[in-house]
Symmetry: C2
Subunit: 153 residues, 2 copies
DNA sequence: CTTCATGCAAAACATTTGCAGCTGG
DNA sequence: CCAGCTGCAAATGTTTTGCATGAAG
């Protein structure tokens, strides 16, 4: 086996493929490789990481192609882009809808927490401001348990 | 009078000036102009907006100087940088600590809502993930009442 | 076959940096 | 005075674009 991803990753990949084809976009080997990485993007990869990984299978792939594919998926709403103040971008194709992230400022790991007390904040914002809220973004920044252990040496 | 800002803006400006001097940074006319804009930054300006405004009083001011001043204030923790996925940055010098923002995707207006139900989400995240949370970011994106009115013409 | 995607290189863009000269304290 | 700031221009780094070639359907 090439990778040890679960069945839900396969399902997500198939969903993305179906939607690509439904819009008459082509499924090239390079695109398939990018989709595979994004569908199981536990690590919330950067474009550069995707590029390096795709290159192991398709060494001639260019960075521009990765950018083009990621942009396409972003426009289709099939991938969530997490842009940061320092200009870095991370991508999540497994859950392409707004959800909170917890980011380690040391090792750059990103995880998805379950926050029970985060409910209809959006409703409250709409009532308070009169805005029609379409989406949101919630990030927490800190140091993960692993990096804390390394620090206290 | 040059501007119609309230007394709390003056107080915030004085606070920033005091902290600059305490660290032996100089207060040049250009810096003072930038500080003034950031201290009363209801509009959450971009660097370009700050640049244009400062230029009306000091026409020789360079963009590099604005960037340098804003970076300095950012390092000092006296201004909050709001970087977005599209590469744009907005700055808030009046409340340089984490707080939610509501952003109009049409006119780019940014306002600060009062969210009573947003309390110790941070505590819950720490318990759930084991991270030591240092800061956070919460943005809502939508369309403001003014732009909604314009739309339904 | 026809259209769309790829890959290269150049362009675009915002931000940063180096440095000579200026100036605040 | 003189360390730090300014303003210019060049460098940087990432993302985008144009276009000729190649391949998916």
């Amino acid at each position: 086996m090439k990778q040890d991803h679960g069945p839900e990753v396969e399902a997500r990949l198939d969903q993305m493929l179906k939607r690509l084809r439904a819009r008459n976009f082509r499924v090239t080997p390079q695109r398939l490789a990018v989709l595979r990485i994004l569908a199981g993007s536990e690590g919330h990869p950067t474009v550069e990481m995707i590029y390096e990984t795709v290159r192991t299978d398709f060494p001639t792939t260019s960075l521009a192609t990765i950018y083009k594919t990621v942009s396409l998926l972003k426009e289709m709403g099939e991938v969530l882009e997490l842009g940061f103040a320092d200009g870095s971008n991370r991508y999540d194709g497994s859950k392409p809808f707004p959800h909170p992230h917890v980011i380690c400022t040391q090792c750059k790991k990103i995880i998805d927490p379950d926050l029970s007390s985060l409910r209809d904040l959006t409703k409250e914002v709409m009532e308070e401001t009169g805005f029609r809220i379409v989406t949101h973004r919630l990030d927490f920044f800190g140091v993960c348990p692993e990096c804390r252990n390394k620090a206290e040496s």
